[in-house]
């Protein structure tokens, strides 16, 4: 008796905890909204199954109290077929529904007007570089890596394409424009995660992995490393700053102007 009630109470509290508040941060783009929809659908499905199962468990325990002798039975084949088919349909249905959300992130081509940025993940900080007006990045030379002088990528100082490359610690993007972020790693595996985008991607040394997204709501959003990378893993923080397009353009102009000043000296 006590056990049944306990099981029901725990199940209800569990459901309550999930529904107690909106645990996700606000969605800032289409993908995030689609994600949230699929999540809530899955929550409905799994929550329903969870509550039903716990209710059934509590119920059979209760029901058995008044029994004189147990019923002898080895099973029911028809029932087996029915609940197997139902489960398979539900589980597979869930995954088919969500496939599109995943393929849109990973199998779509980059939009032609996408902002190109590169991300460098290293123990224990993030850096980003923009190609600048010439649309080209400097070649990279691992021997020229110098964190102290602000060259974490190891940009080849002699490469003219690098003269207008902007290297930053935070990721700035214009709102409403597709972004293609190429992820690079130079030591161990890291992971680029922004909650509001509902996206994360491992950064794997030896691979160049594109992460395509678009952020629609201006704001500052924390970026948290999400793959254990060593003793500074929990300190690997930066921010994604989504700016109205004109502000972004202004920032870019200022950054380039500062670069030219520095190079002139």
């Amino acid at each position: 008796m006590l056990l049944s009630i306990l099981i029901w109470v725990l199940a209800i509290i569990t459901a309550g905890v999930f529904l107690a508040r909106e645990w996700f941060p606000p969605a800032i783009n289409e993908h995030a909204r689609a994600f949230d929809s699929q999540f809530h659908l899955t929550l409905l499905l799994t929550g329903g199954i969870f509550l039903l199962a716990q209710a059934a468990l509590g119920f059979v325990i209760l029901r058995a109290r008044r029994r004189a002798r147990a019923e002898y039975s080895h099973g029911n084949n028809r029932l087996e077929v029915i609940w197997t088919a139902a489960t398979a349909a539900l589980f597979l249905g869930a995954v088919f529904l969500s496939t599109r959300i995943f393929t849109q992130v990973h199998l779509g081509a980059a939009a032609p007007n996408a902002l190109r940025v590169e991300c460098l993940a290293k123990q224990f900080s993030w850096s980003f570089r923009y190609p600048g007006p010439d649309g080209k990045y400097a070649k990279l030379d691992v021997r020229q890596i110098n964190d102290a002088t602000g060259n974490p990528f190891g940009q080849d100082e002699r490469d003219p394409a690098g003269k207008d490359d902007i290297v930053t610690a935070a990721l700035r993007v214009p709102a409403g424009r597709p972004v293609e972020l190429i992820l690079r790693g130079r030591d161990v595996i890291h992971n680029f995660f922004v909650r509001e985008l509902r996206l994360k991607q491992d950064v794997v040394p030896g691979m160049l992995i594109p992460l395509r997204f678009q952020a629609d709501v201006p704001g500052t959003y924390e970026v948290a490393c999400s793959e254990l990378c060593g003793l500074g893993h929990h300190l690997m923080r930066t921010v994604l700053i989504v700016m109205p397009p004109d502000e972004f353009a202004a920032w870019e102009r200022d950054a380039l102007a500062q670069l030219q000043q520095a190079q002139g000296q």
Binding site: I7, Q38, A70, V188, L228
Partner: protein
């Protein structure tokens, strides 16, 4: 005396494994308490930490690297030396031969070798705490490059990592030997009348698990070997070009960190089924015994185990959805992952079906079995989220995953071990455990584990990354302080109540009430011999089996059960 320690008797070996695991789980539990303490009090000075780790916790404050190494050792101890050891090496060794009517395992001396190799593996692992740099900090998953580049990647990644690899290699070899033993025993040493469809589901669980182990640990061994060569042989299996670590440019090139993940998870996913299948067989048995009903759908249960074992080998990629692996692979793995959830669901339905018409006896073993069903559903159902790559784009590497696998492995599988202990203690030691203490143990633990792991799920929904030594750096994490405080305090309570179990266990070993031959009125063969059984199990008597393993409440029978060893003229279906 030496003969008793270096015994080839499967019952002695089973008990040796059990106590090895008990020792391991106590260490693992204490480590987790330290972790939960540090997460909510990261700046508190703790003399005990400083005493245990003068370098890693100088001034009594746990450094991040110490936290991560404690976390790594916690996971390694629990997954290998507890979850993979008690159900198979512990209970399996003790009861498999008896349950099929054999006098011992197929290879008793190999069995003894397996145990001592496992013990050596444990000592080597614990030795990692004592070498320069301490224990490794890359998690039990040991992803390269972090695990492959040695000392320069962080404390513990030098000697400590080597000790870890050596320990896992030894453990893998011991597991392979055990698997060979279990499979050969089931195939060749069943008593007359013990046909495959009369084997208890516990035996099916051990048998299927041994098959999985045989294949999975061979792959882990291969992976560990390649990792060792990347560390010491100058190879580049997992290490790409262009690595710069701690200002050193490494000479490696051409390797792939993702290759390690494929090899590791090809082992790692079947590993979780190794951890749960024996428990599932046991839960089926305990539910049946204490409902006085046959297991509902025995054939479906066997089939489900076999399907889980097979499909378990083709879903490893769901640990790698955001690893940089091909999206097409992700989709394939996702479909297969959903499929493997189906037989688990079937088992749950059948458990409920077993209980449905039953006359329940709520002894402590049964309480844990019922609790198992509850937490297995709770833990398993969130797999439907994680099996979708789209959901994984957010939930991967968050506390949602931590909550999920702890509910399934850290709670459900452990509940099965508790159920097994309360059920089989009388047979193993000839004495009964105290039921009152057992009930207190159950109720507090059952409520407590929900309190610990459900909140972890919502922390994950809030985006809380896992493997963070503290949460001070991020604004969004400051919101979750109260949640984590609640989790930690609940965990301290649950950990403390395990002391009650420990006390019950040790006290009852010497002072428990003497156990009869069959205190639970159970049908399987171990209950037809004395408690504890004689050296050759059946006292030299020939064993013949004429009945199925779950003949309870058979119509037309006087007693409400028919033992498997009963003569054929007893009615059974």
């Amino acid at each position: 005396m030496l003969g008793r320690i270096f015994s080839t008797d499967h019952k002695v070996i089973g008990k040796q494994y059990y106590f090895l695991s008990l020792f391991s789980v106590m260490i693992g539990l204490v480590l987790s308490v330290f972790m939960r303490f540090h997460l909510i009090y990261p700046d508190k000075k703790v003399k005990l930490f400083e005493l245990l780790w003068p370098t890693g916790a100088a001034g009594g404050i746990m450094t991040p690297e110490l936290y991560l190494s404690i976390m790594t050792m916690h996971g390694t101890l629990m997954v290998f030396f507890v979850l993979t050891t008690v159900p198979q090496g512990g209970f399996g060794n003790f009861f498999l031969p008896i349950q099929i009517g054999a006098a011992d395992m197929a290879f008793p001396r190999l069995n003894m070798l397996s145990f001592w190799t496992t013990l050596l593996a444990l000592l080597v692992l614990l030795g990692a705490f004592f070498v320069p740099g301490g224990a490794p900090l890359g998690g039990w998953t040991a992803y390269p490059p972090l695990s492959a580049v040695g000392q320069i990647a962080g404390p513990g990644q030098g000697d400590g990592m080597d000790m870890w690899i050596l320990s896992i290699a030894l453990f893998s070899i011991a597991s392979l030997l055990t698997s060979i033993n279990f499979i050969a025993t089931v195939m060749e040493l069943r008593a007359p009348g013990m046909t495959l469809d009369r084997m208890p589901l516990t035996v099916w669980g051990w048998f299927t698990t041994a098959i999985i182990s045989l294949l999975a640990f061979a792959v882990l061994l291969a992976a560990g070997l390649l990792l060792l060569f990347d560390r010491w042989g100058g190879t580049s299996f997992f290490l790409p070009a262009g690595l710069v670590i701690n200002d050193r440019i490494l000479r490696n090139s051409g390797g792939s960190p993702v290759l390690w993940q494929h090899l590791f998870w090809f082992f790692g996913h079947p590993e979780v089924y190794i951890a749960i299948l024996p428990g599932m067989g046991l839960i089926s048995t305990i539910l049946s015994v204490n409902s006085r009903r046959p297991v509902f759908g025995y054939k479906a249960m066997v089939g489900a185990m076999l399907v889980i074992a097979f499909l378990g080998f083709v879903v490893w990629g769901h640990h790698m959805f955001i690893s940089g692996m091909s999206p097409y692979s992700s989709i394939a793995f996702s479909v297969l992952t959903m499929t493997v959830g189906v037989p688990s669901a079937i088992k749950t339905f059948n458990w409920l079906g077993t209980l449905w018409g039953g006359k329940l006896r709520l002894n402590v073993a049964m309480l844990f079995a019922l609790g198992f069903v509850s937490v297995f559903v709770a833990g398993g159902i969130t797999g439907i989220f994680l099996g979708q790559p789209a959901m994984d784009l957010y939930l991967h590497d968050t506390y949602f995953v931590v909550g999920h696998f702890h509910l399934i492995m850290g709670v459900a599988a452990v509940f099965a071990m508790f159920a097994g202990t309360y059920y089989w203690f009388p047979k193993m030691f000839g004495r009964m455990l105290n039921e009152t203490l057992g009930k207190i143990h159950f109720y507090i633990t059952f409520v407590g584990v929900y309190g610990i792991f459900v909140p972890m799920h919502v922390a994950g929904l809030a985006g809380n990354p896992r493997r963070y030594p503290d949460f001070k750096e991020f604004e969004f994490l400051s919101d979750l302080t109260r949640l984590h405080t609640f989790i930690s305090h609940t965990s301290f309570t649950v950990a403390a109540v395990q002391l009650l179990f420990l006390f019950n266990l040790l006290w009852s070993l010497w002072r428990g009430a003497r156990a009869s031959q069959n205190p639970w009125d159970s049908t399987t063969l171990e209950w037809s011999v004395p408690s504890p059984p004689p050296h050759d199990n059946f006292g030299g008597e020939p064993v013949a089996v004429a009945h199925g393993p779950y003949e309870y409440s058979v119509p037309g029978s006087d007693a409400d059960f028919v033992m498997q060893a009963a003569p054929a003229k007893e009615p059974s279906a």
